[in-house]
Symmetry: none
DNA sequence: AATGAATGAGATTTCATTCAT
DNA sequence: TATGAATGAAATCTCATTCAT
């Protein structure tokens, strides 16, 4: 799933009523994220999560109905941390390429910070059809939104009229997300220092976007 | 992993010596693929695989040392079926864009045929670091190869000199593979008939490639 | 292994924290001993042990990481019950033969009480090289200790100077342990009542010890 | 079991009729001994035995009805190789101590040669009550025979009249067999060269026998 | 709320034995 | 006889979830 896909928050058996309860729940969510990221959902053991949170196994079920629900909560809480590439569509006011550059930078930075979580999401997407459907819908919605922008650019003669706006939008987003996957989830970095590496990614992907959309002098 | 990543073949306990053995082993490999694709590696039960193959549970272990090894064999055997985008690098003889078009078409067609398998690979990649490493290496090698072509085009003034050849190559490949994922693994199709849909993908991604690489009239 | 060989205590997954846990663990240890003695280590089923202890199969693994570990614990706990022949070396204060008599009596009595356990130990010794090494070391240490006493007696003219003290010590201990094996593990009793039988063993072995060590009037 | 305990020969499904059959059977028996000695009866796999014999698994069952039967045959065939301590009772013609010395030497030498087999026998004895009974009976018979000799010596004033002839006989034999076990099965050798070590065992045990039986000057 | 032991269904794997060729 | 694949009945061990305290 793309990082920002909205996940339904699991309905915990009961919201914590006491301050202590709030603390325990928070510890469990943090522990769950740690363990899920470390072991993957399938191999993660409820026992380990509780141990990591410093509480008894039974307490886990005070706050979550099941392991699945804990995952759901972890993913939900993580959403705010993870941004979408080009989540802020270009406005007319500023240079649209500056906006896209910033958006790509934010995305790569976020992916780098949350690489283990992204890997977890890939696993969940591979396991859970429901999650897959959420991801699909989210990607679709994003692409439709971007497609409108592209269509507009085409109308104004600023984008290659041959492109299918929707497919192009989806493909370009895919380019960014998968590039982040290769760089940060798989760790295929070029070997510069971390920030230079990130800037190179931003520069390259943004330029590819720009090139890809521009009206071409040749015809085909 | 990208479909074409080479997987080491698991070393079965022993190669079948009789025709009957060959048949049983083949049935088990086919059954394993079916069940892995249907249930995912983790949920797949050896019992189910044997049942699907029409033999006793124990026979599974005549040919595979473990469930992992069966997976390995399935993935290995699947390689020949799945091609890489732009696996055939353009030769000078023909129009390079024709070659890329053909390559993309082959890739999307293959991905469509093997969508469940691709999903399985995503799961394995999310679970198994070793598999991830294979995927990383393969992607790296591919990108290096393509990067050389791009650099050459740059030298001849036929490609945008601002682009980092390696990063561009990797990103463009990522665009294709992830587009296939959205379309066929997630099932986010546009709703045309299947072949038209595929052709639209081919057209769009190829044109994006072409645009993305071309030397731009503007400067930045 | 000879009954008294010290066995490393297996490190249980976790020591019980509650009274109930303590009870369950104790029940499992007792049950394990019963079943191991009845069926032998190899044939003993974890299921049976749990059933004997009156708890669920899974509970077995709350306290032992494996069947092996349970065996280890059983053997370790049994050590305190089983004594060594001549474990209490004669002191100068009392008649050394009285001390040896007492020691032999204690040993035979213990062996009689724990005959099934001894048989289990024989099985473990036959199976497990590590256990064998423990037994060997223990026997060696014992023999060295006794050898010193014998050497001293030789110096004082009270023991046959022709004897190798170490080999003699080991052989005499072997005589006692193996005699107990024949009588109680194999059940080759003479048919007197139990206590008279035991006393006859004590009397015979002690006298053989005494005779064997004494300086002989003949030479050879 | 003491090495020489007579084991019933298993009744093979059929005696080999052809020369080839004779060869295969012999290979299987040899292989079975090798594997049983190496892995113990319980862990020995029929597959391994067949492989060791260089024939197919199925062929094993051409000659043996079961794994147990193969064991039986191995043990039976081994009997001729393994002697009993003092199996040849002293005759009046020669010096009885010379005879016992020779007998002990033969026993230790045999035990040394067949140490793995002896270990196997210990395992079988620990596992199989029937085997235990054979061992018990054999030991009993031996002790009765020797007891008669001892009684006779007592009558002639050449042996300690206080000793129970049967118990003494059994104990002295136990001394020898268990000493061999410690030395060769457990490998607790003194560190001389092999032959010197063996001679020391012979000398010590024989002298202990002699001393142990002799009429003592003291009374008790 | 917290604790941590208890539960038990279920999965993988082993291997003696059978059997078709 | 020989072969080697097929069989399938266990047995060990896991772990999400429940529950008594």
């Amino acid at each position: 799933m793309s990082p920002q896909a909205p996940v339904r928050a699991g309905s915990s058996p009961s919201a914590p009523a006491t301050a202590r309860g709030v603390r325990t729940r928070a510890a469990l969510v943090a522990a769950a994220r740690t363990v899920f990221e470390r072991d993957g959902f399938t191999d993660a053991k409820v026992t380990d999560i509780a141990a990591e949170a410093g509480c008894a196994t039974g307490s886990f079920y005070t706050y979550f109905a099941s392991k699945e629900e804990a995952l759901s909560v972890v993913l939900y809480e993580a959403q705010r941390e993870v941004l979408d590439p080009a989540a802020n569509p270009p406005t007319n006011d500023e240079d649209p390429w500056d906006a896209i550059t910033a958006s790509h930078r934010a995305y790569f930075a976020s992916y780098r910070r949350n690489a283990r979580l992204m890997l977890l999401m890939e696993q969940v997407a591979a396991i859970d059809p429901e999650f897959r459907e959420i991801r699909r819908r989210f990607g679709h919605t994003y692409a439709e939104r971007t497609a409108r922008t592209i269509a507009e650019l085409q109308d104004r003669g600023l984008a290659d009229p041959e492109l299918d706006p929707f497919l192009a939008a989806r493909a370009l987003r895919a380019m960014v997300t998968r590039t982040a996957y290769y760089a940060y989830a798989l760790g295929d970095t070029v070997g510069l220092d971390d920030d230079a590496d990130l800037e190179a990614l931003v520069r390259t992907t943004t330029r590819l976007w720009r090139n890809a959309l521009q009206p071409t002098p040749y015809d085909r």
